[in-house]
């Protein structure tokens, strides 16, 4: 396929947004069509990058091994979500802005995947972030507004962190190409600063630990199709950003790598822990995403730490990077399917609902890594990457990862319990093929897409099915399922059992008062700045009084000058003065 088509990846959704604005009825259709070029390109990638030197500061679009799986994931998810949304929002009176924002977000999300230069990446990233605000706020109720506010505050804070990192990198690289930037960061004197900024800046998107707070708020309130792409693909943008900006395969930063790993593991456990304490399916899924992103963060950490030794440093890092990508694809499809299915439960009842819940178990198990799902392969790839990249960490990392799988299983069990429970919302209407169709397609994709050869290499894929790894993969699931059963049996099944529920956003509950306090302080300060001019008013008054006083003196003096004796005296004195001076000066 010609590389010129790459241009369509970000622009087709933009046109779709325009179409959605102008022809509201066909907003979903336009969005669907707009995703097609991406899917097509993922399947049939061009062999060259597209260079557009006249656009912006010089745009370069392309697809490489790292991006191709993600483009596939993104394209498919957006496409399916668009189809799903068409039916889901058929009766929504505010579907017009929704599809505008949907398409704009899509443009950004797809654009950043194919961006080869920093500016395009940043542009797409910003476009995605800001447009997603419209998706999160779509419901318009208090909850949505709160979620959107938290989201936008974090996004802006994130921009503030990302920008200096980009500037530092681009300045050192003297180029905007991401490859150059990465190389420059590898040798930058302020490397620690850049890496730190990147971690927190993009970590917000990737749901890294203390910055994850917006995710549990945003997912439940966003429209289901939006949640699906949000969790399925958009948060992967943070991951991709790490992969393309960090000096992976260029430098070995074991310290930072370890930090990434620790943060990742912490997120994995913390997400799982908090997730099981939730009582809404989408919130549980959100925490699951946090947890899963933690695992991908671990992969990035491995890539960061991988020593570029003479033999295999770069290769090792690349393996870890690929592991992250594979995991992302796997998780993206699975999570998309879970979200879309959750949305379906609201529209179904009785048997239909049972079927939905049963089918939902499939991607859930996949996430848990149960064989023979993509989860198994992804975990295997990650494990391999550990072995290749950081053999030294293997002996403590492997068990910890397995433990994380236990957590995942628990979390998903909790999800299934919650989703099977009484419907939170009254069903707006029966689900037709419009909802079922895309959902089933997503399920299928979740099951199969990751197996495509350009996603999971044949080697690890085959390896994943060896007995050892099967067993390795199976026991955490089993343990998790067992623990879940026990918990259910001994605590929740009791009459008058009161499950512990943590508010969505966990530490946000603690942060919000602090934030409000800061906000108030800021407002006060700013207001005080505004009244500062008034503070000098007294000076003006004093001056005025003085001027009046001086004016009085002035009048009197001028009047005195006017009297004849004074005038003649002045004449005489001047006469003497000039005479004396002239006599002295002669």
């Amino acid at each position: 396929m010609s590389e010129a088509v790459l241009m369509l990846v970000p622009t087709a959704p933009l046109l779709a947004a325009l179409a959605a604005r102008l022809v509201p009825r066909h907003g979903a259709l336009a969005a669907t069509v707009a995703a097609v070029p991406s899917v097509a390109l993922a399947l049939f990638p061009p062999d060259r990058a597209l260079d557009l030197p006249w656009l912006l500061l010089g745009v370069e679009l392309g697809i490489d091994a790292l991006r191709r799986p993600l483009l596939l994931l993104a394209g498919c998810l957006w496409l399916l979500a668009a189809v799903y949304a068409r039916a889901y929002h058929r009766a929504d009176p505010r579907s017009r802005p929704l599809f505008v924002f949907f398409s704009l977000t899509m443009s950004g999300n797809l654009g950043l995947v194919v961006a080869f230069d920093a500016v395009t990446f940043y542009l797409s990233f910003v476009l995605m972030n800001l447009s997603a605000y419209g998706l999160i706020r779509h419901a318009g109720n208090a909850e949505a507004r709160r979620a959107a506010k938290v989201y936008i505050v974090l996004v802006i804070a994130g921009e503030g962190l990302i920008l200096p990192a980009l500037w530092l990198g681009a300045s050192a690289a003297d180029s905007l190409a991401l490859a150059d930037v990465r190389a420059a960061v590898a040798a930058h004197p302020l490397q620690s600063w850049i890496v730190g900024l990147l971690f927190f800046g993009f970590g917000i998107k990737a749901g890294a630990l203390p910055l994850h707070i917006w995710l549990p708020l945003a997912h439940p309130v966003a429209p289901t199709p939006a949640s699906a792409v949000l969790s399925g693909m958009m948060i992967k943008a943070g991951l991709l950003a790490w992969l393309v900006f960090l000096p992976l395969a260029e430098a070995s930063l074991p310290g930072w790598g370890l930090a990434w790993v620790i943060f990742g593991l912490a997120a994995a456990y913390y997400g799982a822990l908090m997730g099981v304490l939730q009582d809404r399916p989408k919130t549980v899924l959100a925490y699951s995403s946090i947890s899963q992103m933690g695992l991908m963060t671990v992969a990035v950490g491995l890539a960061l730490a991988a020593a570029p030794g003479p033999a295999h440093g770069a290769e090792a890092a690349k393996a870890a990077m690929m592991a992250a990508v594979v995991y992302a694809v796997h998780h993206g499809f699975a999570k998309g399917a879970l979200f879309l299915g959750t949305g379906l439960t609201d529209h179904t009842s009785g048997r239909g609902r049972l079927v939905v819940v049963a089918l939902l178990a499939l991607p859930a198990l996949a996430l848990a890594g149960l064989p023979p799902t993509t989860g198994l392969a992804a975990k295997a790839v990650l494990k391999d990457a550990t072995a290749v990249a950081m053999p030294a960490w293997q002996n403590w990392l492997d068990p910890l990862l397995a433990l994380a799988a236990v957590g995942t299983t628990l979390l998903l069990a909790r999800f299934l319990v919650v989703v099977a429970g009484p419907a939170a919302n009254s069903a707006p209407g029966p689900a037709g093929f419009g909802l079922w169709g895309p959902w089933l397609a997503t399920l299928a994709a979740a099951a199969g897409a990751a197996w495509l050869p350009f996603v999971i290499p044949a080697g690890p894929a085959a390896e994943a099915f060896t007995a050892g790894s099967l067993a390795d993969a199976a026991w955490p699931v089993a343990v998790g399922a067992g623990v879940a059963l026990m918990v259910w049996r001994f605590f929740l099944a009791r009459p008058r059992a009161r499950p512990i529920v943590v508010p969505a956003g966990d530490i946000l509950v603690l942060l919000e008062p602090v934030g409000r306090c800061l906000e108030k302080m800021g407002r006060d300060t700013v207001r005080r700045l505004g009244t500062m001019d008034g503070r000098w008013a007294w000076l003006g008054h004093v001056l005025l009084v003085y001027v009046r006083f001086a004016e009085g003196r002035l009048c009197r003096l001028e009047r005195r000058l006017a009297s004849w004796p004074i005038l003649v005296a002045g004449f005489g004195m001047l006469l003497l003065l000039v005479g004396v001076i002239a006599y002295n000066g002669r």
Partner: protein
């Protein structure tokens, strides 16, 4: 055509005069001569743009345009067209054209229009004069001329508030003019005529350092007043009582840019960056600019009046130019010059929109914007584009200049600039996103509470088209920044040709 191009000094003179004569004619028109006045206005504006383009073309062909009018006693009035001058000329002329259309529609039916348009033309005359000034004296002349020509526009409404604002304006600008005057005369007295040219006037000076610094700050102080740098920014927000077209063209572009442009001339043409880059001069100026950037943003947050907020935003944004100028590297210079144009396009859009909102729905406050995204989608889209550009988001032009400023800061080793820019971006977001939020995401008040003023059709169009054009230009200037015709490319050309001939090829 070549004959036209080879007119020597008369081309820059005619650029200046094209609006001057128009203005003079307009003064003598009766209020009722709407058609005549509009034709004159538009004719003058179009002519000015055409002449500006002609000049540009001529310069590109290698013609030299210098007009010298000896004033006696060794003083000369010089108009010349170097690339930098052309950039400002074309910016002023182009935006004047757009604003004229807007103003004709905006002021339809209001009193004293002949006076208004007369002074309006004189203002543009002054700002083109500033642009084309070939020496310090000429610059000072037109700079002060601008002060005088703007005053009647500030007090145009004649209300007590307007007169008060006018007084504030005069106090500040005349004070600034005084500093500029002292500095300029001092400098001229020491080294003779200060001509803007390839070699900075002070390139090989043996003046004592203290004197150089004192003169620098006298001149810069005078210019800073118009550039609305803290602590001499106070006139700008109060001057917002002027009619919207005035705020749009003058307080976003012509007047305030005159200060910024002057700073650039001062640093690059008078002192030379090698000299002006010293901590006591450029360094301090950069600090001051940074303080202004942050302070202006903070004040903008506190204002809920739209025009006031925009005014403080201008205070903040203008200092980007000053900052880029003061930093002193090629990239920073490019950023400053690009921002000169970019900020103009964006801010004029915002003021156009604010004026249209005020005219149509009598909206003056951010909180009153509720539902305007639905009521006036095109206007609000233009507003949004410009606002996002102000925040510095791609692909609007503001991003490009901010990018270059940041890289310029790094290039010159001033890493702290990043912090300033980031802080400023965040603060910009803090005051530009709320209006956007209110406009797009909140429900409009019931129809009964919101009376749309019925305006003639052509007035509606006249108020709508200019912001759309400028917003599109702002967008295009960012999107196509890499094209050789973009403001950025022009800025790079200026810097490469004149100021950093060796290293000016940037990334």
């Amino acid at each position: 055509m070549t004959a036209l191009l080879a007119t020597g000094g008369w081309l820059p003179v005619s650029v200046v005069l094209s609006s001057f004569l128009t203005g003079i004619f307009i003064f003598f028109l009766r209020e009722e001569d709407v058609l005549m006045r509009s034709l004159l206005n538009l004719g003058g504006a179009v002519l000015k743009v055409a002449l500006g383009i002609l000049l540009l073309w001529g310069v590109a062909q290698g013609f030299v345009y210098t007009f010298v009018l000896p004033l006696g006693a060794g003083l000369d009035l010089i108009l010349f067209a170097d690339p930098l001058a052309l950039q400002f000329v074309l910016l002023s002329a182009g935006l004047w054209l757009v604003t004229t259309v807007y103003a004709i529609a905006f002021l339809e039916g209001s009193p004293e229009r002949s006076r208004f348009f007369g002074y309006f033309s004189l203002c543009v005359t002054a700002s083109t004069g500033i642009a084309l000034a070939g020496n310090l004296l000429t610059f000072v002349i037109f700079y002060e001329f601008l002060t005088l020509a703007t005053y009647p526009l500030v007090v145009h409404h004649g209300t007590r508030e307007a007169l008060k604002a006018g007084r504030t304006y005069l106090i500040y600008t005349l004070g600034g003019g005084m500093l500029l005057f002292i500095g300029a005369v001092w400098l001229q007295g020491l080294i003779g005529p200060v001509v803007f040219g390839p070699v900075p006037a002070l390139a090989e000076t043996d003046l004592p350092r203290g004197v150089l610094i004192a003169i620098f700050w006298l001149i810069a102080g005078g210019l800073a007043v118009k550039a609305a740098m803290v602590p001499v920014h106070g006139w700008l927000p109060t001057a917002m009582v002027a009619p919207a077209p005035v705020s749009a063209l003058l307080h976003a572009v012509a007047v305030v840019k005159a200060g910024a442009f002057g700073l650039f001339r001062l640093v690059y043409d008078v002192y030379g960056i090698a000299l002006a880059g010293a901590p006591a001069m450029g360094g301090l100026l950069a600090m001051l600019a940074s303080v202004t950037i942050v302070y202006g943003s903070l004040r903008a947050i506190a204002e809920s009046d739209i025009k006031k907020r925009l005014a403080y935003s201008t205070v903040s944004q203008l200092s980007y130019i000053a900052l880029g100028t003061a930093l002193g590297g090629p990239l920073a210079a490019v950023g400053a010059l690009a921002h000169l144009v970019h900020q103009g396009l964006m801010k004029i859009t915002l003021f156009f929109c604010a004026g249209r909102l005020a005219e149509t729905y009598d909206i003056h406050n951010v909180h009153e914007l509720a539902g305007m995204g639905r009521r006036m989608p095109v206007t609000m889209t233009a507003f949004t584009v410009a606002a996002l550009g102000m925040i510095g988001l791609p692909p609007v032009a503001g991003f490009v200049s901010k990018w270059y400023l940041a890289l310029g800061g790094l290039q010159t080793g001033n890493d702290w600039v990043l912090a300033v820019l980031v802080l400023s971006s965040v603060l910009n977001a803090a005051y530009f996103l709320p209006p956007l939020y209110v406009a797009w995401f909140t429900a409009p008040p019931p129809e009964a509470r919101l009376q749309r003023r019925i305006l003639p059709g052509w007035v509606e169009w006249g108020l709508l088209v200019p912001p759309v054009i400028t917003a599109s230009l702002a967008l295009v200037a960012g999107l196509l920044a890499a094209l050789p015709i973009s403001p950025l490319a022009w800025a790079e050309l200026i810097v490469a040709l004149r100021y950093f001939p060796v290293t000016g090829d940037g990334p």
